[in-house]
Symmetry: C2
Subunit: 397 residues, 2 copies
């Protein structure tokens, strides 16, 4: 019988993209839609890194090494050194986006039926990669009231079973923007040592921290065998379409296993590796500019949100996301209503309902994620829309 | 306990790349190594498609649609039409290389424990994708004596179980170069209809056929729901590093399932989609030139091989590979010996032992795969080396 696989059935549809048809319909009606729903920054990709690709002069677009070009990996060593992480180029496997780094970790370290613990709300695609790998995601709830700080370690302990193999964190966090403190990272370290777990640390937003420096999982000492960094140039250099990331660990056994998966898919994309390599030579103040821009946006969006009646938005310490609790009955309905039935001065705003970021059913129904990836003026207008929408929404609570 | 997953252990190391350290050692000794071991063509990537990337003028390297740029998919409709395949752009999902198209098919259509039947010898990475998906590969032996023609359908019937979900073919074939006939394709059609199986058809080498036109799986009638094409621009335009392929089917249920996997990894690489789109506009005679070049190489390598004592090489009908039976005891030993202990006029040749392409243990021990990806002069010199090597090899049979 021709059928879809069970995992094909279980594979979650993207919670962010499911509203797209409604946005398209709104645009067809002539309504301007402010997209705060996805993490696609409007910040220009540094010209120098696009130029590196445009000025390339090779004749054959060849496969690269399965682990990525050695020249690029050697430059990445410098990059990591600049953020306090000491690795050599053989401890870096260049991946097709951060997505593939996560997939590699799940595939090489976890078997079907194994469990990973992830503080929720979490990046929704972890669910997809878990389904693909047959791995069970065990969510531990973090709470908007304390800005989505790390849940108590006792909550982790309570969920650890013989099948638990890893903890996944995203730091600073997508979708919450939370930046884990040194103390929290040290707590995680004790936990993974005690229970012999992997710590998969998604550090896509490393540079975008506003309340202090990021404490990388690789800044922790004595857990070299445990820590894997899943990395990407997508957000760092506004280069999402390059599809270049990195899998970084000092665990040789894990590297050896991941290399076999990397060889099977031959190589990461060649063009964008050129861009990634050029990015390491950007002036040291590159991130200052980008970070200052994101910080202004954060300040504006958080201020606007908290000024709305019944709205609470904790101040995110990093990344470019804010989570807000709204006085509404159902975030999915509300986000759809914003696109389908609402407009303010012929404009509306597209948000991501938080339900898709929770593993526990029923959570996040009053929360939305806002990606502050638009310029200040657009954010202001989008907030005007949201403010008016909350007043008008029939499902107000 | 920190451990590698069972599938990480089972994941096969690339049989093609395991000899690389010996090749590197030979080069360090000053020996010139002719690489006939991998399918990395030396043919220049068409300048027009590299220029399309180099002349691009976007400001932000954005995610594309998860299914690939619509403009590219619409142009691919034209491309497929030109090879007698009628599909619309919604039946095409642009993938990160042909590799990802294969992975998507395995993941969306097959569950752990399901079986796929593949004529052996076969492209070794099917093994890797099968391990990642928990799928069992059931090989059916094709034989060098008849040029690796499709094995008798009775052999397939004998291996079909309730867990059999798909048949995988590569046409024209890597590693054998065999081009399936219309009659063989019709036999496969009857088989998949009778047993309600998917037919996954890897058509990476579609344009490179020397003994007639390729019969695509999508040329078969009445099996629209069964057929999936796994495609790539890698070989077609000598653009292996682009990592752009395509997953093509008219089965809507499969498309819907695959889209969920595609959304989880966000998008295929943006730069090379520009190249892929430009490739559709290459002059109609582009393939004539490339094909004529490959045909001359095939003619030379087959002639040289068959002129060697004790060597048999069937004339491949397509792709750019030839399989040869050599008068040797062990192809793995021989290929290593070529690099480690042999040189002829300070040169040697790197080949792929055929053992890695067989699923049945013990098969292929006297066979090697030769990728005719070098120019005529280099192929000639490589054959001089091989001829001398066979005379000298201590494990001659």
């Amino acid at each position: 019988m021709l059928a879809i696989s069970q995992r094909g059935i279980e594979m979650p549809a993207s919670p962010i993209r499911k509203l797209v048809p409604y946005a398209e319909a709104a645009k067809k009606k002539g309504i301007k839609v402010y997209h705060l729903n996805i993490g696609q920054p409007d910040i220009e990709t540094p010209k120098a890194i696009l130029d590196a690709v445009r000025n390339s002069d090779f004749k054959v677009l060849e496969y690269s090494h399965s682990a990525g070009n050695e020249s690029y990996r050697r430059k990445l060593v410098d990059y990591y050194k600049s953020v306090g992480i000491t690795v050599n180029h053989q401890q870096i496997i260049v991946t097709t986006g951060g997505s593939e780094a996560i997939q590699f970790g799940f595939m090489a370290c976890l078997d079907p039926g194994d469990e990973v613990i992830i503080p929720e709300p979490f990046y929704a695609n972890y669910n997809g990669f878990a389904v693909a790998a047959g791995v069970k995601v065990v969510p531990i709830t973090s709470r908007i009231e304390n800005g989505f700080a790390l849940p108590p370690i006792a909550d982790f302990e309570a969920r650890i079973t013989p099948r638990t193999k890893a903890i996944v964190i995203c730091n600073p966090n997508n979708p919450t923007g939370y930046l884990y403190s040194r103390e929290e990272m040290e707590q995680l370290k004790e936990l993974i040592l005690k229970h012999q777990l992997y710590l998969f640390s998604d550090e896509a937003y490393r540079e975008f921290c506003y309340s202090g420096e990021q404490v990388s999982a690789m800044h922790l000492t004595g857990v070299d065998e445990h820590v894997v960094i899943m990395d990407t140039i997508s957000k760092r250099y506004s280069a999402c379409g390059g599809r270049i990331g990195a899998f970084v660990t000092k665990n040789q056994q894990v590297l050896d296993a991941v290399m076999k998966f990397a060889q099977a898919r031959l190589s990461p994309p060649s063009f964008a590796q050129i861009a990634g390599e050029a990015a390491i030579d950007l002036p040291a103040d590159y991130f200052d500019t980008a970070k200052a821009e994101y910080r202004s946006r954060r300040d504006l969006i958080v201020k606007r949100l908290n000024a709305m009646e019944g709205v609470f938005c904790p101040n995110p310490g990093g990344a470019f996301y804010a989570m807000a609790k709204l006085p509404i009955d159902d975030a999915d309905q509300f986000c759809q209503w914003l696109l389908e039935d609402f407009s303010y001065e012929n404009q509306t705003v597209m948000l991501a309902p938080a339900t898709g970021f929770y593993g526990t059913p029923g959570l996040g129904k009053q929360e939305v994620r806002l990606a502050y990836v638009l310029n200040l003026s657009d954010i202001d207008k989008a907030m005007d829309c949201l403010e008016a929408a909350i007043r008008q929404y029939p499902g107000k609570k």
